[in-house]
Structures are given as C-alpha cells and as structure tokens.
Symmetry: C2
Subunit: 351 residues, 2 copies
C-alpha cells in the first residue's frame, strides 16, 4: 500500500468544481491499484486575497513543501488584477519548488474533432516542454515618469545557462524516450540577445544527445505550423512565454482548452511538483456545475505518472479516450450538455 | 498624371522573384489610373553582406529617404545569421523612418480554403495592427560570463507612453473607420511591468475613442481564439512580438503565409513607408520561379492605398479575390502548379 500526501488548491471559479472530479477519479483508480491519498485542502484564492489581502499565508510555501504533490484548480477573479493573483500564488510555487519543466501534452482524441482541417492532420500527439522559472516572466523591470509624457516601462527577460540547460536536457531526454524529433521555438531574428543564446544552448545540448533529430523554428512560423501541420511535432521545447502561447494554441488545435492538462515538474523530486489544468477560472460559467473536468482529470493522471504509477495514469487517459471515442457524453464547451458530475461519472464507469 | 518614386529592395531568395510580379501589376494598374512610377532598385541583401560585409551601404537610409515608398521582397540567406540580416536592413528601416505601425490584413478568400473548420468561421476579414519600433525588439541587453557555468543573457523590453499611444491612436482610429470592435493582445498576468502599462494605455486611449468597443485578451488565449473563432475579430492591436506571432498565425488560419501582405507605415507621411510580403526568402524553393506572388502584389496594393489611390488598390485586391474565386490557377504552396509568372499573368488578366 503506497500513500501519497496531496495538497489540493482548488483556487477560484471552476477550479473548485473540477478538482473534486479529479479527486474522485484518483480515489477510484487508487482503490484498484493499492494507492491511497491523504489530501489537505488549501483555500488559497482570490477570494482569500479579497478577505485577507494575500493569496496565501506567509508560511504557505512551507506548508506545501510537506506534500508529495500539489493539485491546483485555477486562479483568477474579476476585480483582482491577474498579476496580483498569479504572482501571489502560482508563480511563487513554480519557482520556490524549482518546477522548471512545464509539460503540456497535446492529443487529438477520436471523437473530439480538431478545428483544423482533417486533410492536414495525421495523428496529433506531441508535448510542449516549457521553461517554467525564468525567461520573459521576471520581476526585474519597472516604470518611470508615471503619468508624464516621458513615461516608460521596461521589462528584463533573463536566461541563464543553468536554467536553460536543465530544461533542454529534460526535453532532449524526453525526445529520446519518445523516439521523435525535437523542435526548438526561437526568435533569434528579432530578440537579439537572449534568443541567439538559447539557440547556442540548444545546439550544445543537441550535440550531447546525438540520438535526437532536432531543428529550430521562429515562433511566428512555428505558430503557423501548429495550425497547418500539427502532426509533424513530437517534442517542442520553448521558453516560458513562447511555451505559454504555443501550448494554448496547441490545445485549441486539439479541440479545446477545457481538455488540456499541465504538469509543473521538479524532475529531480527534491520538491513537490504541481499539476493543473490549462484552463482558467472561467468566471462566466463558474457555479453552474458545467465545467469540463478533463483538463483536471488528465492533470491528476500526470501526477500519478510522476509519483511512479505510469500504469494507473495510462488507465485514466485511456478512460478519457474511450469516453470521447465511444459515447456522446460531452460538457457544454465540447458541444454537449453533460454536467461536470455526469461527465465524471462516465469517466468512472470507463475506468 | 501623378508620379511616385519607389525604392525596390528585392533582397534574397524568392524576394527577387515576387517583386517583379508586384511591379508588373503596379505598372498595369498605373496605366489605367494615370499613375506612373519611377523605380530605383537596390541590391541590398545577404548576398551583398557576404560580399561587402554589410547589408546596405553607410548612406543606405539617406538614399531611401528620397523615395515616396519602399517595396521590399524578403531578406534571409543560409549562413547569414538572421539577427545580422534583419538588424542590418529591415529593422533599421522600420525605426529610422518611424514606421511605427505594422499593418497586416487577414482575409479568407473564396476559393482558398482555410485550414480551420468551416463550421467555426463566418466571414474572416480583420487586421492586425502591430507596434513596429520598440517593445520586445530592443538592442538593450547582453551576455555575461560567456562559456562559464554562470553564463546568462538579458534582454530589455522597452515600452514608452509616446510609442504605445501613437500606435493605439492609429488602431482605435482604424476601428472607428471600420466600425468594428478592437481587441488588445496582452499578457499582464505573466509580464508584470510592461504589460500592465500597456493595458493602462489601452484603457486611456479607449476612453478617448468612445465609439469603439474594445476588450483585451491574454496572448495565449487570444492565439487559441484565432483558431477557434477567427471571424469574431476586426482590429487586433498588439506589441511588436505579439503582433509578429499573431499575424503569422492569422495568415496560416486564412490559408497560407504566401498570400499575406504587410505595410510598415509612417502614418504622418514624414518618412517613406515600406511594404513587404510576410513570407520570408524561402531558400528551399528559391530560383525555381514557383513562389506565390500574392503577398507581394497585395503589399503593392497597400502601398497604392497609402499613396492616396484607394480605388486602384481595391482593384488589385479584387483581382486577387476573383482569380482565387473563379479560376483554378494556384501556385504550389496553395496546391496548384502555376508558376509565379503564370499566376501573375492571371492577375493581370483579371485587373
Ligand atoms: C524577420 C523578422 C525580424 C521579422 C519580425 O519579426 O519582425 C518578420 O518575422 C516579420 O514579421 O516581419
Ligand atoms: C496565468 C498565467 C500567469 C499562466 C502563465 O502564463 O504561465 C497561465 O497562462 C499558464 O499557462 O499557466
């Protein structure tokens, strides 16, 4: 009997609706595989911010550190500026726990039509490996001459050899295991200091992983190819910002943001990793019980995989695939009318 | 009789093949409208760089300044690093002549199937208004500890009130003329200094243009919506980098990079503006005479419009639309077998 201690942070909006769905699926699969979970629930959220003035308590990170993994719903609330909510919770967690790999798998499931023309898609099954702790997301910068004609704001992007190299080694290692090519997202024609550096490091790590075929594409052309020929990709490695854009784009190409999962990994396991659906808190549909739970459930599967249970994880993604391929049960974002609970029940039946 | 003095910079690769096509169309339409053109051809290119060590001569910008407009093909050549070729020609021109608006119209033409599912597209006809002289494309930054474990590179993004405001006023003015909504691309949740500033300025200029309905979207979600629902957009305003990504993405959604045009505008007309297809030099197909000339021809139409001949410009885009809607003539990138010359001849027949 293995027990895992899981921190649950439902967050805001539909985050609080999809996380219970993920938990039900975890409990069910755990029963069959002899895995138990001890959950601790943290109500850290924008609501908390509005009441207490901070997204999480002072010792928030210390409390999370005790857990084996973190499952997060979504953060964001009308009236709370996004940079407050994100930099008060999500981004500090990613950084404090060196979750330097943000992994975002993309699959076009049977039964879930991709918006891109059937003619151009073969099998779409790839993964975006996004740098998650540095790059374009940086606290360095500021503003001067506020309100005056000469007002300006600057923002520093920071790329370190250590930070990029560890990410690239993870990505090349993944490409080795998957046996596919690696594509690096760059923009070294326009961003002339950091991106040529990124390219050099890619070439360096590429030489250290001779089994992997790799190439690079400028982010603008790459975004176009995600639409025109998504089946050509296997592992796409990208900076923090580029990975953010590409993974949402890829999720749309694959049929919707509601199904996309993500893992914020500390691959060495020195700190807890965090798993969260890519969708946000969706205030427009919150409270109606109609959110799509696939992103959260698939994220829970990635958590199981990370915790050493790849078989149990695969059973969950197989159940998702079977429900989509063999039943008409869909939540509203996918054109159906099933509630979150009904869709989750269908997944449980197919486990 | 109006005469315009045009600087032609064919550049590299297929740039040298599509510019003559654009010129033929200009001459033909000019004859019918009593407009003449005096062309001066500049062989500034990566080839020149390889021979002479620079993309253009020292007095290059001074020479261009004498012209009414600049028509550029494409720049880029294997072996010449992109940041050398671009920062040695394209980007200095954009900046020296305060071409602070990069205008990229997107249309799904009848007869040119968009790769996105028919079901989700209504009429797709919008324009990306990209900031073109500051932002994420900046010379400020550098590298330290070269080759050492502590190596790092930094890159400063710079947003000024003056630079953003003039761009926004152009975009809001365009939305007023078009009568559609304006969407601002942001990322104020992740990029915490410059993007909240951008948002504030958008709100400020929005208040100054009360006739325009506007909203903002984070770049990741916006990229997804370009695929899922491109018909909802009319004017999309974006920073230098975001506009670069969005416009290539939109061109892919509209059916291919080969047809996309762009205008680098100095709206006040104090300096020459520059017009160029969005596609690059495409070394893989260069020299075969099979490049798609639509991007270049449409760019020439935008030039005519800017020079005060909107009627003549519309005749060119109408001819493009008619050839695509009523004939099977297509270049290879669009699934046909017509050469650049054959396709151009078809356009001329439909003028
Ligand atoms: C070549 C490159 C520097 C350029 C840009 O990013 O501006 C190009 O992609 C474009 O869009 O004109
Ligand atoms: C909310 C935002 C800061 C975040 C990001 O950009 O990292 C989100 O878009 C994501 O992808 O997890």
């Amino acid at each position: 009997m293995t027990n895992h201690s899981i921190a649950l942070i439902p967050g805001d909006g539909i985050g609080t609706e999809v996380l219970p769905a993920a938990r039900e699926v975890l409990d069910s699969i755990g029963t069959r595989h002899g895995i138990t979970f001890t959950y601790e629930r943290y109500d850290w959220s924008c609501e908390r911010y509005l009441r207490h003035g901070s997204m999480m308590p002072e010792d928030g990170l210390e409390r999370l550190r005790r857990h084996d993994a973190i499952l997060l719903g979504a953060v964001g609330y009308p009236g709370v500026p996004d940079h407050v909510s994100l930099w008060g919770l999500l981004i500090p967690i990613r950084r404090a726990f060196s979750q330097y790999v943000n992994l975002r798998p993309i699959r076009v499931f049977d039964g879930l039509p991709s918006p891109v023309r059937a003619a151009v898609t073969g099998e779409v099954d790839f993964v975006v490996v996004r740098e998650n702790t540095e790059g374009e997301y940086s606290e360095i910068g500021g503003r001067m001459n506020r309100g005056l004609p000469g007002e300006m704001a600057v923002q520093q992007a920071v790329f370190t050899r250590a930070g990029v190299t560890r990410l690239l080694d993870y990505a090349f290692g993944l490409a080795e295991r998957r046996g596919g090519p690696l594509t690096s997202a760059t923009k070294s024609n326009g961003i002339v200091h950091t991106m040529p550096f990124w390219d050099e490091l890619v070439a360096e790590r590429g030489a250290a992983h001779p089994a992997v075929e790799w190439n690079q594409e400028h982010i603008d052309a790459l975004a176009a190819k995600f639409v025109l020929d998504p089946a050509r990709f296997d592992v796409v490695v990208a900076s923090n910002l580029f990975g953010d854009i590409l993974s949402d784009l890829a999720a749309a190409v694959a049929g919707g943001i509601g199904i996309a999962p993500s893992a914020n990994l500390n691959p060495e396991g020195e700190h807890p990793s965090m798993f969260e659906p890519v969708h946000g808190s969706a205030p427009d549909i919150a409270g109606q019980g109609i959110a799509n739970p696939i992103g959260a459930i698939w994220s829970a599967a990635m958590m199981l995989d990370h915790l050493g249970h790849p078989g149990a994880a695969a059973e969950i993604t197989d159940a998702i695939a079977r429900v989509l391929a063999t039943t008409p049960v869909r939540t509203r974002d996918l054109g159906g009318s099933a509630s979150t609970a009904e869709f989750t029940a269908e997944i449980l039946r197919h486990l």
